[in-house]
Each structure stands twice: as C-alpha cells, then as structure tokens.
C-alpha cells in the first residue's frame, strides 16, 4: 500500500518479507525496495523495485496517480533490486526523461541494452525545478556503485539517499519511529558493515561535507528499510562513527572445528579474555553467518581466527570467511590465529598470511596444538587469551 511521507511525497515501494539471501548477506528480516513518488507540476518517480514485484509496485502507484501521468523517472542507483522493474515501467509510463548520473546512463545501457530510452544525464550540484519543488542531485560515486547518486528535495528537506542509510528490514512500520529501535540499529549496522565498509573513507568525507555545509535533513529516505523522519541525525551520527571504524575493547573469536579441538582452544582463549574482563564473542562459522560476524567485527578491536588443518589447508568455512573479510577491507583491525592439527599443521600460517593480506596487524604469534588439547595446552590457550585481552585494553 502506498504511504504518505510528506505532503505530495509518497512511498510506493514493496516489502520482500521472505528474502533471506542477498549476494552473500543473510537478510534475516527480509528487506524492502523503496521507491518514491513526488507530485508537483511535474510528477517524478525515484527508483523502482526488483522485477518480480512489478505488479504490486504498479498497484501502489495507481493508488496515488495514473502511472501515465508520471513525467520523469530518476534512477539514483542501477543495481537490479532497484531497476529490475524499470523495463516494464518504461513501457507503461513512457516518461519524458529518464534522469541518472553519467555512470548511471552507462550502467543502464549495459544492463538493459536500450539506447533509445530518453536519458537525461545530471551531474553533482545540478538542479531541476519541477514546480514548487527543486531537486538537487549529488553524485555519490562508490557509495556503493560508481553510478550512485542522492536526490535532495530542497524545499522539503527530504534526502532520497538510495542504498546509503538503508537497512534490510521488512516491517509493517515504514518509519523509524514505528519500529523497535534496537532491531533498527542492528539492521542499519549490519547493512553498513556488509555493504559500505570498503568505502568508509568516502562515507567519512561525505558526512564531513554535509556537516560543513550545515545541511539538516527533515527526512532521509533510503532505498531499503524504514525512512528516517523522527531522528535522521541518528543515522548520520552512526555513519560518522562506523566510517571512522572506531573500535571498542571487544574481541571476536571466529572459528570452525573438526573434532572440537579448535573449539576447545576457543573456549580456553575465552577464559583468558574473561580473566582480563574483555568483552568477546565466540562465533562458530558452522552456525554463524559471515554477514553476522562482519557486523560484530565492525566495532571490535581484534579478531582471532581459528581453524584445524585439513588436507594441509583450512576448513572451507574459514576460507569462505577470510575471502569475504578481504573484500570488505576493514581498517585498524588487529588479529591472531589459532588451531589444532594432526601431522603437518599449516592452518595457523595460512590464516596469518591471509590476515596480513587484508591489512590486519598480527598482535600475537599463533596458537597451535597437536590433536586434542592437553591440560597444559588449555593453560596456553588461556594465557593467549589474557595476552590478547591486555593488548586490547592497552
């Protein structure tokens, strides 16, 4: 059902309640694909939805206006979850103009192979009057695609921010003040950690520019999840903190185990961290999704990665996690490795090499134990934990 955001501005998106997998990201609460309709002398539609939701999307638009009356379509972000329905939408609406960034045009052509659409390329700072309202465009390259851009409805103070400030969070409430706050911030943090983390430098710069320009938004309307209307500054301040990668006295122990030896070591390390009073989590890769782990790592000072040696290498879940971590390029994170082995025992060295290739500084020599940990080995694990704990507190 369409919903009013402000006078003349409507949410016409769709809710994807059952989505659980988003290119490697566990969307545990589903998601929404937000699209916005603005009624003025010109009627403007911002972004569309995933292709299979086209019928519901069209229904939502029809609740507000005959779709044929839409004059302009703005594509803030070309990714398929926002543009999948575009070919059908173009066919029905036949807008005067399809507005996008320079990279947006390139990407749209490479997605849909339609040179004939009425593209209108806008650049950062360009303004467009649509009647009582002005739209100001701001290119936000690599947040999180080269084509990404924001559209600001200047007079209303409404920032349509595409994927930035979004959350994969399907709810009945469409606004920040209508949902559980802890869950909302968990989902916003998870989104940041899994989508925007590699571009933290750009996010910091953007937030700084917004603050320097004294820009205050009444509403921040992202392309996923709830709309920030009660406290838009809350998400801006959170982005400031996350993009600075401010880290707390917290350790995440990530591991998988074959016959529980590596797991026993994780528990021994945990005791050492307890001795030092350092907050920590044990996350067995067999039961914890990589996207949940990354969310916990966002504000942790250190990660300890554990794997037994299997076939002179790692358990595959650990390889999967390290590959995911590498792409997300965390900054300022410290780490160390641990694991059990039977005869050759390469896992610790492999993990250390991978952590270093991610730019994670090793803060301790790795902990290796042959077969099942003895009482002595468990003491070593505890001491290893204490050492990490002391480092994290220093």
């Amino acid at each position: 059902m369409a919903l009013k955001v402000k006078e003349g501005i409507y949410w016409v998106g769709v809710i994807d309640w059952n989505l659980r997998e988003f290119h490697g990201y566990l969307t545990d609460k589903g998601t929404t694909y937000n699209s916005y309709l603005v009624l003025d002398e010109k009627v403007v539609l911002f972004d569309t939805v995933k292709s299979e939701f086209f019928p519901i999307f069209l229904d939502n638009i029809k609740e507000i206006i005959d779709p044929k009356e839409i004059d302009l379509i703005v594509v803030n972000h070309v990714e398929m979850d926002h543009s999948g329905a575009l070919p059908k939408v173009m066919e029905i609406i036949k807008p005067e103009k399809l507005i996008c960034s320079p990279k947006g045009k390139e990407h749209l052509i490479k997605h849909f192979h339609r040179e004939d659409w009425p593209y209108e390329v806008v650049k950062s700072g360009d303004q467009l009057s649509i009647g009582k309202r002005t739209i100001k465009f701001l290119e936000t390259r690599m947040l999180h695609w080269p084509d990404s851009m924001f559209s600001l409805l200047v007079e209303d103070g409404v920032l349509i921010s595409q994927d930035a400030f979004g959350q994969h969070y399907a709810t009945y409430g469409r606004f920040d003040d209508e949902v559980d706050q802890a869950e909302l911030m968990r989902q916003a943090k998870k989104y940041y950690a899994n989508i925007l983390l590699p571009y933290s430098g750009l996010v910091s710069k953007l937030v700084e520019e917004v603050e320097k320009a004294g820009l205050k938004f009444e509403v921040i309307a992202p392309d996923h999840g709830v709309i920030w209307r009660k406290d838009p500054d809350k998400i801006i301040q959170s982005y400031k903190k996350w993009s600075a990668q401010q880290r707390e006295e917290k350790v995440v122990i990530v591991y998988d185990t074959m016959w529980h030896s590596t797991e026993l070591l994780a528990q021994g390390i945990s005791k050492g961290l307890e001795d030092e009073g350092v907050d920590h989590l044990l996350m067995n890769l067999h039961f914890n999704h990589r996207s949940e782990i990354i969310t916990e790592i966002l504000d942790a000072k250190a990660i300890l990665v554990g794997s037994p040696t299997m076939n002179n290498y790692l358990l595959p879940t650990v390889g999967d996690f390290l590959a995911y971590l590498k792409g997300l390029k965390p900054k300022g994170l410290k780490g160390a490795a641990f694991g059990s082995y039977g005869w050759s025992g390469e896992s610790v060295k492999v993990i250390e090499k991978e952590l270093e290739s991610v730019g994670i500084e090793l803060i301790s020599e790795g902990l290796r134990v042959n077969f099942v940990p003895s009482e002595e080995d468990m003491k070593k694990a505890r001491e290893f934990g204490r050492k990490i704990g002391r480092y994290v507190k220093s």
């Binding site: 390259r141 690599m142 080269p146």
Partner: protein, 53 residues
C-alpha cells in the same frame, strides 16, 4: 606532474600525495606507478585512469 582521474569512481591520483597506504611514496608520477597498481577506492586498473582536465 599531472593528476589522473579514475574513470570508474572519480578518485584522483595526486602525484604529490602518492598512495602511501599501498606503498607509493609521495612524489611518484602516475607514469611511474607499477603496472599492477590499482585504484585504492574501487580497484580499477591503471589503464582506466585519464589525465585530469
């Protein structure tokens, strides 16, 4: 020395600053960057850079 712009993401390589995080000292001309150097923002290769206007 000329500045070069990444045609993918808009990052500007400034030879005066270099790219110290990836082992490129300040004062390194774009032409002297190693062939396997990539854009520190988006990972695009060197041939996707253009001289700044």
């Amino acid at each position: 020395m000329r500045r070069y712009v990444c045609s993918v993401c808009g990052y500007v390589y400034d030879p005066e600053e270099g790219d110290p995080e990836h082992g490129i000292a300040p004062g390194t001309a774009f032409e002297d960057l190693p062939a396997d150097w990539v854009c520190p923002v988006c990972g695009a290769s060197k041939d996707q850079f253009e001289p700044e206007d």
